[in-house]
Symmetry: C2
Amino acid sequence: MNRILNFSAGPAVLPVEVLSKAGAEIVDYHGYGLSVMEMSHRSKAYSDIQDETEQLLRKLMNIPDNYHVLFLQGGASTQFAMIPLNLMNKNHTADYLITGSWASKAQEEGARYGDARIVASSKDKTYTYIPKTTKADYNPDADYVHICTNNTIYGTRISPDNLPDVGALDLVADMSSNILSEVYDVNKFALIYAGAQKNMGPAGVTIVIIRDDLLGNAMECTPTMLDYKIHADNGSLYNTPPCYNIYICKLVYEWLDKLGGVSAIEEINKVKAQKLYDYIDNSNFYHGTAEKEYRSLMNVPFICNNDELNAEFVKQATARGLQNLKGHRTVGGMRASIYNAMSMEGIDTLISFMQEFAKQNG
Amino acid sequence: MNRILNFSAGPAVLPVEVLSKAGAEIVDYHGYGLSVMEMSHRSKAYSDIQDETEQLLRKLMNIPDNYHVLFLQGGASTQFAMIPLNLMNKNHTADYLITGSWASKAQEEGARYGDARIVASSKDKTYTYIPKTTKADYNPDADYVHICTNNTIYGTRISPDNLPDVGALDLVADMSSNILSEVYDVNKFALIYAGAQKNMGPAGVTIVIIRDDLLGNAMECTPTMLDYKIHADNGSLYNTPPCYNIYICKLVYEWLDKLGGVSAIEEINKVKAQKLYDYIDNSNFYHGTAEKEYRSLMNVPFICNNDELNAEFVKQATARGLQNLKGHRTVGGMRASIYNAMSMEGIDTLISFMQEFAKQNG
């Protein structure tokens, strides 16, 4: 078995234990005589899986009872529409903090259904920082405030102790690329959403954690399948859910739970990221592109002094099995995505290679 | 390895060869050193998979070049909204043929966006037949005519030689439960859609085959992710697609292609279904619930003389490894779903059990 070190921004590395387990039971799940892919979504065997998946996520994130956990389809991009369609129906206005191109896409989609006001944006500096805001910056009539807690492309984050002060307003967060990476207090949010394909499982399932009182206010034009209440009322079984994708999430949650949960992985993630940032900062060869105060624990963009070196770095790294390190075209250089499933050894191997490359080219 | 005979209506049985192959390469796909679940959707390795999946489907269904093949999320239920949102924007009226509860749900969703006229319905007899219509029954101004080619719950179908004569109108078909089971001429349709979880793969991917001229007419309120043109323009990569689900479809398409394609499986399916229907009709113990003329090749509902016998049948069959035979509550009795991946031996085993049960209880 050959395994690369996969620094992909997403879909991303999964724990090899999870993949092996899934492989071992793909033809015959727990003696039931069929694959999870072949189970009726109305069967006891499958509903046990989905229930356990939800319970594990509730445990891992300490999700209060007054929140529903939904397993949906369509990715975060579908949430960009579902959020205004369901939540922007009181004052028809919402506030958006623009910290990257995905936050910007969310705002653009919101603007199709009401007044999606831009509170602040870091576009002026290619989203290398998080704009500072105060409570006074937010519209007290906003139906919600939308933020993105981790900006995959630019390597910035809004950490749990740096959430904007939005007073009594409903905070909605896209956590696609840092959910389960550190402890956020769910109570501070009205709605959290995340595509699975970074820290949870395969692409094709989107987790939505929504406070119960927000259900039932969808706009008239909302497609049935885009109404949160429909899914909440039916335990995410209004129609056939992406059963196998949910099952893989369950295996990932089990892996994380055994490891000690989110607080345990947070410690590991902080050590992993700090190692890499410290090396970059002390290297005199590499340069981190995000402002230090706002650095992501999940995505570490860095550059060499010129584009030829960047290209050569990616090429040589790839040949050595350190793959998918090419940065997003809007930032250039490299990006190491170091999600929960990226091991400490993976970070050490990356740093060793960076040292070697710097020595040869410095 | 224990394998039941899985007569589930969906998600449903998949070829064991497909599952074994997926299991064997789940940790390391073709020496790439990662799982298909872990691949960036922008990587060459993944885009090759998606391209091959599309090419195989085009080959299997003989899809003309002026049709796009889209890999979407949200199941057929999301299509119930996407179709009117994208296609009911000229005359704001469409015709629906109601042949089951799913067709009815499609019509109800359509009615939220325009005049979704019911051309005919077989609800009067619990959808046990397909209403006969003539060209004169259809509104010449209809933006489309919606049909469901196979009614999973009731075991009826609109066979390729029994498609309604809708003249020059655009025919839209939900083929979720009989796509790839027999040869339909794609040219006769404007749009074909199908959730994967019966004849193609795991739940979580929906195939849409759409004639190019229908793109670009979405209503103003259409969420970006529900606009066919967005997905067509981006090769189903506008956002992260359900990559692993698509990959399993590829394996199923390869399996079907090796077997000789749709015309070959059609012959097998006809023999499988005929065996079962012939036995039922000659048994004097079981009774098929659908009218003979409209019988499905995929779903075979049948009943014993009373509910106690039905319950006992399901119980004993389950104990013998013939599972998920309980009929839908609206029909009662039993339903054997015999999709492409159900083997001839599976049918023979079912008939043997039915004979034995009839003998003991007749």
